[in-house]
């Protein structure tokens, strides 16, 4: 009897502690995630300039969005460009660099640090620097930045990069590729987890390096590829600083969905309209992730299963 009472008071204390310690997250979740999440959904059916009271307008915001060719469709198009071209490029280059860095040869830590280094830099400074690195230097006596000067070594006349509507988006991707070494955090452990004896067995069976990589390593690291693909796509939907800073704030060639959202919310104070954009972004991310998850069953291989 005494024992059960003590046991009960112990579980009571344990449960009290559980709530006590997790309470910061629970309060934050309710105040800064759950409540805003629901209210932005409701807001997306309203018209609200913050000053006058909100007005219910049904699906008007969404209808208006679907007709906005100058901003929404163009920026959606740009966002898809970053996702469909940028993400695969990042994955391929990141994996290639990591394969190079995976062998524990002498001095490898030095190389790992050098390739990782650009990934630690962020913020406005990096984007401004890259804008100068990518200075076009076409005619007008204007001299090029480093990239076009280097292309000049090989006799290539470099493009206008962020000052040219056709090259501005590749310029945005290029900055991202500079930081690709950061992804070795994911790739190196994945590569290390591929069993050595499997690769040796492949060698004995006469498979060459490329075949061994493609047939043995790649299937075994599909969970990491899947993770990078999903996170990469989510990230590419949230690109904001690059489009605003690189071509200069007066130009809209590189604008992403995040930029339309920001402009409508914090420059024009169209809170309802901006919330509708937020929900379009959210639904697209969800759809892409679910589609990704669905197809992943066909190509992602988990050892534990």
């Amino acid at each position: 009897m005494v024992k059960t009472r003590r046991a009960r008071s112990l579980t009571k204390r344990e449960s009290r502690n559980f709530w006590l310690y997790t309470s910061p997250w629970i309060i934050g979740f309710v105040a800064f995630t759950a409540f805003p999440f629901l209210s932005s959904f409701i807001l997306s059916f309203m018209q609200w300039d913050v000053l006058s009271p909100p007005k219910f307008v049904g699906i008007d915001n969404y209808v208006q969005l679907s007709q906005d060719k100058t901003y929404f469709w163009k920026d959606l198009n740009n966002t898809l460009y970053y996702a469909l071209i940028g993400v695969p490029l990042t994955i391929i280059l990141g994996l290639a660099v990591s394969v190079l860095l995976s062998k524990p040869i002498r001095g490898i830590n030095f190389y790992r640090i050098v390739f990782y280094l650009p990934a630690v830099f962020g913020g406005v400074a990096v984007l401004k620097l890259w804008t100068y690195l990518l200075s076009p230097g076409t005619g007008d006596g204007m001299n090029p930045g480093l990239i076009n000067a280097m292309l000049g070594w090989f006799g290539i006349q470099g493009p206008g990069w962020s000052q040219d509507p056709h090259w501005a988006k590749p310029a945005v991707l290029l900055v991202g590729l500079w930081g690709v070494g950061g992804s070795m955090m994911i790739w190196l452990p994945a590569l290390a987890s591929v069993p050595k004896d499997l690769l040796e067995a492949g060698e004995i069976d006469g498979a060459n390096r490329f075949q061994r990589f493609w047939r043995i390593t790649v299937p075994l690291i599909t969970p990491a590829i899947f993770f990078q693909l999903t996170m990469g796509i989510i990230g590419s939907f949230q690109i904001f600083m690059e489009p605003v800073i690189m071509p200069g704030s007066s130009k809209t060639w590189t604008d992403s969905l995040m930029v339309v959202l920001f402009d409508n919310a914090f420059r024009f104070y169209k809170m309802g309209y901006a919330s509708a954009i937020a929900w379009v972004i959210f639904i697209m991310i969800m759809l892409v992730t679910l589609v990704n998850l669905y197809f992943s069953r066909r190509w992602v291989y988990y050892e534990s299963k």
Partner: protein, 298 residues
């Protein structure tokens, strides 16, 4: 290495072993060549900028590139502190970073401890909720959050940039909890017998053992708050309250049409310096973070 040699001797004649060793050496040299080329390519932008910040104006964009300035302009860095309110921006940014760091570390540790150590039938479901919030992109909650802060009259103060850090980020809870689960519970028990309460156990036993993860989280928090651009852009309107990122963004040094590139480069480099120092300091933790990355996959 020795194991490979053993395999080679087992398999065949010494002649064959020699040729495979030659092949291996050629491959190794090739690997170093590619690595070195790549490393140079990754570092060149940085070197170009450093050299650019020290060049006289006429030399910055010359072709062929002058890597070593003809005349070192050290005073660019001196001018940097006089041309724009550099120290005010630094001070503002440091205030935000410091308070964000304290909040993020303290709250993440507490919450992770709650999930790692105390049984409750809602523990599992709530933890899944923590993980699923990582899937909600920030833009969905951004506008209502702004409206809440507006309601609280927090606009144009640092509070919207600091306070959310006191409610523990999901990714940090996840990492810390995973790590805490690997710490044997017997350690807690013996401390309990010695008279420590749950908070004492957390501070004296668990936290010291979590140090590598705490340092990693700390570096992430400092870096992301130091580099934050959208937050200050949304919430700050008085120029005296701007952060360094806002300062750099609005920096248009030089007179009409004549951009002072040297100053721009210097300003950018100084802004990147803390990230570099943090990286140098946390390098061994980052590289052990490669192992943490392993826990994230699949």
């Amino acid at each position: 290495m020795s194991r490979n040699n053993a395999v080679a001797t087992e398999k065949g004649t010494p002649v064959r072993r020699q040729s495979t060793r030659l092949m291996r050496n050629i491959r190794l040299v090739l690997r170093y060549a590619v690595l070195t080329m790549g490393a140079v390519l990754f570092l060149l932008p940085l070197i170009w900028t450093i050299s650019g910040s020290l060049k006289p104006p006429g030399e910055i964009f010359t072709v062929p590139i002058r890597w070593i300035p003809s005349d070192f302009q050290w005073d660019t860095y001196v001018r940097l502190f006089s041309v724009f309110p550099f120290w005010i921006y630094v001070k503002n940014t440091l205030i935000i970073v410091a308070f964000a760091l304290i909040g993020q570390l303290a709250s993440s540790v507490l919450v992770a401890y709650g999930f790692a150590r105390f049984r409750h039938r809602l523990n599992g479901p709530l933890f899944i909720l923590v993980l699923s919030t990582m899937m909600i992109p920030g833009q969905v909650t951004m506008i209502p959050q702004y409206l809440i802060y507006k309601e609280l009259s927090w606009i144009d103060t640092y509070l919207p940039l600091i306070v959310p850090n006191y409610f523990a980020a999901a990714i940090n809870i996840f990492l810390l909890r995973q790590f805490m689960l690997t710490i044997p519970k017997e350690l807690d028990e013996s401390a309990k017998i010695d008279g420590a309460n749950s908070f004492g156990i957390l501070v004296r036993i668990i936290m010291p053992m979590c140090l590598p993860i705490l340092v990693t989280i700390g570096i992430w928090t400092i870096n992301s708050n130091w580099n934050d651009f959208m937050g200050p852009l949304i919430y700050l309107s008085t120029p005296e309250k701007y952060t360094l990122q806002m300062g750099i963004y609005n920096l248009n040094a030089g007179r009409q049409g004549l951009t002072d590139y040297g100053l721009m480069f210097a300003a950018s480099l100084v802004t990147l310096l803390p990230s570099l120092l943090l990286f140098a300091f946390g390098q061994k933790y980052f590289m052990s973070g490669i192992k943490i990355g392993g826990a994230l996959k699949g």
